[in-house]
Symmetry: D2
Subunit: 435 residues, 4 copies
């Protein structure tokens, strides 16, 4: 997480201010429940909410206390006591630091996911708009980077839409993974705190109680969370790579929007580089990499060790801030993508008619030619186009063996581009109607 | 995937025989649908089923053809034609290799997941049995590897149960991710094959049609699949690490079952090493590592490239075979785990009474002592136990400041172990009732 | 490691036969040293060499014993005793299994590296030959996938040469990392075996004694080894990606050799897909991924645990066999790469003269125009080429402001391609003379 | 990189101030060389050094320009022109942004490595001091977490010393990997800039010229660099894990230093948790994870793309700052580690005499008992110790079969601890004399 690749709303989720506010809310909600149980006075719970709720926590002061105690939650509680006064002794009763830390971390992850979901929605909206705009924009489909058969640019975008729709569902599942609350005390036995406190705090914060925790919330949940972010990042990389390819000098079927003042290169003014999608490719590598330490975090020793903490202090913000930035950047790229339909058509027609070879092959077999023979017939004419720049249909019409099997009219019909787009509506219905 | 860490049922999923059989079924089901549409004769579809269904595919022969054509699907189709005869020309009409390869890969992943789910069920059953067996077996809970407060061995196992129950749900979700079928022809436009063929094949194979494919089934699905396996492996590592810790010479609260003939070491016959769980730790590292190339596979170029293929030929079997083996091994370890409740109690009592310090601390604050003062009171007595081997209760009873705040009877009551286990039933209800 | 991506010589390094032969040699060399020290009779050492050296180890039999003892080294020693007879009791005196296992693993890694070095040499030779062949073959250099300035195809290959020359040096260093021998007994104290035995065995096997081992050879060595393989794989991916780009339909400056019988696609006979380099891209992902578990293997518990073993049983063969295959495949691709110099030139001339914009910019600033103004002058003319397909030189000659700063002759001189290649000799000297 | 895990000296390497200063120096040194060649006036080069050298670059202003131009190097050059005046037009002649960016990045990595080497030296010094302090401190060696045979705590530390000595050598090699300079202009052909400029700048900055670059310095160098950091981090994890194990309640052979004011837990005041080494375990996971994106960065497209940039903006600081912090923290832990030799001896004697079983086994075989029989003899007595808490020597003396083979005096001699430490001097000589 560096400022260059950060957006303020997500950065706020991870600020010290936000963290201490959530810590306070967890403690104060717990006090409510403890007061309800009669463990602490109701007046104390009220005083804690009143004074803590009104206060601005002094981060400098908390840091100062932590430097002495080397314990962040104690530092915060000490500062809270400075604000709340004597009633502060009722705070944190029967709780352990992890109750506060882990529940807070999950609240932050849930909030982060809500932002990521909003980002994804914006991206989905952009993809849908552009997909319908280019539903019928014919372009060559490529496999192995080699021309294959025609498709439409809208279908490419519909694919991206379906992929990010899946990513959205995965993010929803990932959110559910981490939307739990643990207020179960040391080693998670509830010895010192009634399970109803956990239930109350969970409900107040929009979380579910963790069925069984061991002082910490089990880290398989977070491993799944960060692994999911890595998959989403990989989908970003896929679309970014597609755009980078389309912007290549020799292809140039689409371009990132290039603002008037922008300079592409210090030396070559004509260059318009796909720098945003290249950047997204790099950011995807980063988000993906965070899945590994998150998985290594699962095997904590016994009821907990604290090795996960440093990892999460880094990847919590790093992964979510970077992914938020990347999703927003990608949405912007899609929204403003400059598309060149004429170039798409020009590229498609590069090898005159050769894209229709599959249809001709099929027609020949359907006309009774054996698969092997049909393959050879198509191949020998295709090679003339490939090597000599001939026109595929002309060559086929001049091939006696082809003519024998396939009347001219039927052959000509095989070169109709509409043939390839006849099911685009079906695809669009499948992709967009369900959502 | 090496024989040492493989089980036959899962290995079968990835055999050449299985693969070619699935390829055949995909082709034959497609022929049914094509015949229904009138594209090919019904008699051809029937002949294909009859002859192909009865045949044993000659893997040597297919390999031989592939060496010439350098294309595996063509090699198979050529061999199929040798079996089926002239009707073979109706096979694969309008389809592309990826239709066969990708749908087959997904069928294999679905079957693999079904085995993994069965493995997980066995593990869950073992965990449940042992958890109830040790529901009330008191043991010390540890944080940072340091004694914390008492819990029960059953709670430890309940935690593992809940974790693998989540893993089960994740596997179900991962199965759904990959349970799709694509029969959409070159670049996925259905130009040469009607979408109804895909729907028919999907249904016949227990899959859903891929809403939009680009010759290949999008690899974000597989990335999510393998990432999920990595998370499951990480949970295996957690439980394996727990058992390794418990089997340490100084802890020795549990041991892997040690069969009579087994030798622990060539040199030290008294050693019983936790070799199964150490092995599981290593296997978890492997399964986890496969998530990375699976994520890198997502960004295929344009409508597809084939870079994912070599990765999947390796991690498809490697990840599922290894995880199957690991889950089964872990289930066996849990089923036969030798548990030493007396050692658990002896370890717990190692520092006489010190495990009750948290309760004493709480009691003091509830008796009106400030949190800071209570902390100091507990700390000064605790240090005597720690450093001089004193008895905690004796020291506290002799501490005038403690006595002032807390009557003896009340203090003694704080050393009751039952206090720590009073919510074990709640935890068990939460964990096991829901399932 | 799967047969498809394996070569026999490397597979042999990892065979059971090879492993048991190395185990035998370690034990027999140790016996020589022990006999020299007078610990065991010289006649025993001689008998062990004589009988064991002549024997073929019965892998079935060893497996059978291991199934009972669950210990592979004991199984081997038991079998060896069956071959050697009573003198077998002098084998393995004071040694521990890890002495055999770890030293053997390192011997295998050293042999594997020797093969990888030979592979690299073949690749370097191919790159050098092709680099000199195309030293002066002009091609467009591209940054961001966008045309930048001219270079030569030979320079591209010289870069690859320099990169693999570095990889070679890294492999040599990696070899040295693992070329150690440990015969230090349980926990590595030499309590039961004299250090001179280790020195003798090390020398006999071409290794160095491990200065200090803890029953196992420290795994940071192997982490470095496998990390290095991951870097070499990443360099393979770079060159493979370059070739995939060059083979794109729209670029087509080079192609993988396409053998006469080969079929590119079951459906589109005209397609020649860069399947080898795509395959290499996937294999690189795999080799790279093995670095992670190798690094996780470092933190073994205390003097050793066996979690590394399952990882190494898999990645030892997997990483080296795959990298061997990949290097050999890449060498073949380079050796037979079909290069199209005319297409390179045609692509370069695609935007008439625009590639010279940098030179014109420089000429303008040298002629006294401010950097900012020169940039604008170049930009406005470049845009006409870009957007209207104009000729860059014609536009510049027609631009009064340009003419004012730069005489026509001088401007024309800026369009000389030789300008860009004048230092190619220097680059080649730097790259190839040092080696 | 977060403040919590950062040290100022390393953070400074990555500051904007440092970066712009290095950029300036690269440009100014290049101007010197260009002036020497007569390409630009000597007075200009002097003026640039004079004015730029004296100036403080205004980061706010540079950011402001970058927001418009979206290009960081142009922004810097524009600001430099504001400082230098008209002579600024001679800056950056024939260079490309990557010349500045990549050379600067390498200068930063070299400086970072110098700090890491100093950290390693401090760690090595601490390990050496403590190793000699505990050269003869007997402790039990453990394999699989199970007692094996005696060793000394000094040997454990000597092993760590040897491991970090290797890490030091790897860091030196990694430094050399990245200590290169490229001033080769667009696509690296030196078309616009003489190779002698690169040589001059390289020399001035203590770097070597990159033999062949393609606008960017090849990223295999950086992949190797970050992979090396990952290996070093893994060695940190190993030692940290060792200490965590030693501090376990049941083991307690060593402890992290616990400062007087420090609080171990908010709830359990007696707890002293190995939080520093747990933290190091987590940090190691992070540093290791950065190797992956660094390896993915290698395969840039053609002569360069910019996908590596975002990765390096993050992992450049993240990896080096975190590793610097971790090495320094580990050095501090080692320097102040509290060691408990009596506890080591107590743990060793836990199973009376059983640690000597290997010696007894050996003695029996040397006395003529077959290996299999000796094993059984040792095993049956060892099991009594294990299961009934008997004394090993007593049992052996009472075993008629043992007595038959081994006289009492000889047996007693096998229980001498000095036997295990007799080669400690050899080990220390091997480890410390070479360095």
């Amino acid at each position: 997480m560096i400022p260059r690749y950060s957006r303020p709303e997500m950065v706020d989720v991870w600020s010290q201010e936000t963290k201490f506010r959530i810590w306070f809310e967890i403690e104060a909600h717990a006090c409510d429940a403890l007061a309800e149980l009669g463990v602490i006075p109701k007046s104390a719970a009220e005083a804690i909410w009143a004074k803590g709720g009104a206060a601005t926590f002094d981060i400098e002061r908390i840091d100062e206390i932590e430097r002495e105690t080397k314990h962040d939650v104690i530092a915060f509680l000490t500062h809270l006591a400075e604000i709340v006064g004597p009633d502060a002794r009722f705070v944190h009763q029967g709780m352990t630091s992890s109750d506060v830390l882990d529940t807070c971390f999950n609240v932050q992850l849930v909030r982060a996911t809500d932002i990521l979901l909003a980002d994804t929605d914006r991206l989905l909206a952009a993809l849908k708009t552009r997909a319908f705009e280019h539903k019928d924009t014919i372009t060559i489909g490529r496999s192995h980077g080699i021309h294959a058969e025609p498709t439409t640019f809208g279908v490419k975008l519909a694919l991206a839409y379906a992929e990010f729709e899946r990513c959205r569902q995965r993010l929803v599942a990932a959110r559910e993974e981490v939307a739990t609350c643990a207020i179960s005390g040391a080693v998670g036995t509830f010895a010192n705190i009634d399970p109803s406190v956990e239930e109350h705090v969970a409900k107040a914060l929009g979380l579910k109680p963790e069925p069984v925790s061991t002082q910490v919330i089990p880290r398989d949940r977070h491993a799944m969370f960060f692994a999911t972010l890595g998959v989403v990042a990989s989908s970003i990389e896929r679309l970014a790579t597609e755009i980078r390819h389309l912007q290549r000098t020799e292809v140039l079927e689409a371009e990132e929007y290039f603002s008037p003042g922008q300079k592409g290169s210090s030396a070559m003014p004509h260059k318009r580089n796909p720098v945003l999608t290249e950047n997204l490719t790099g950011l995807a590598r980063m988000v993906r990499s965070y899945a590994m330490p998150a998985m290594e975090n699962v095997a904590l020793w016994h009821e907990r060790d604290i090795s996960h903490s440093s990892v999460e202090r880094m990847i919590g913000p790093d992964a979510t801030v970077t992914l938020d930035f990347a999703l927003a950047r990608l949405a912007g790229v899609v929204e403003k993508l400059v598309v060149y339909p004429e170039r798409m058509m020009a590229n498609l027609e590069r090898f005159k008619g050769l894209v229709h070879s599959q249809r001709v092959l099929l027609a020949l077999t359907q006309a009774g030619v054996s698969r092997e023979d049909a393959y050879k017939l198509v191949q020998r004419n295709a090679m003339k186009v490939w090597e000599e720049g001939a026109d595929f249909m002309t060559e086929l019409l001049a091939d006696a063996d082809v003519a024998l099997a396939l009347p001219e009219a039927e052959l000509r019909e095989k070169f109709d581009l509409g043939y390839h787009t006849k099911h685009v509506d079906t695809i669009f219905r499948r992709v967009f109607d369900a959502c």
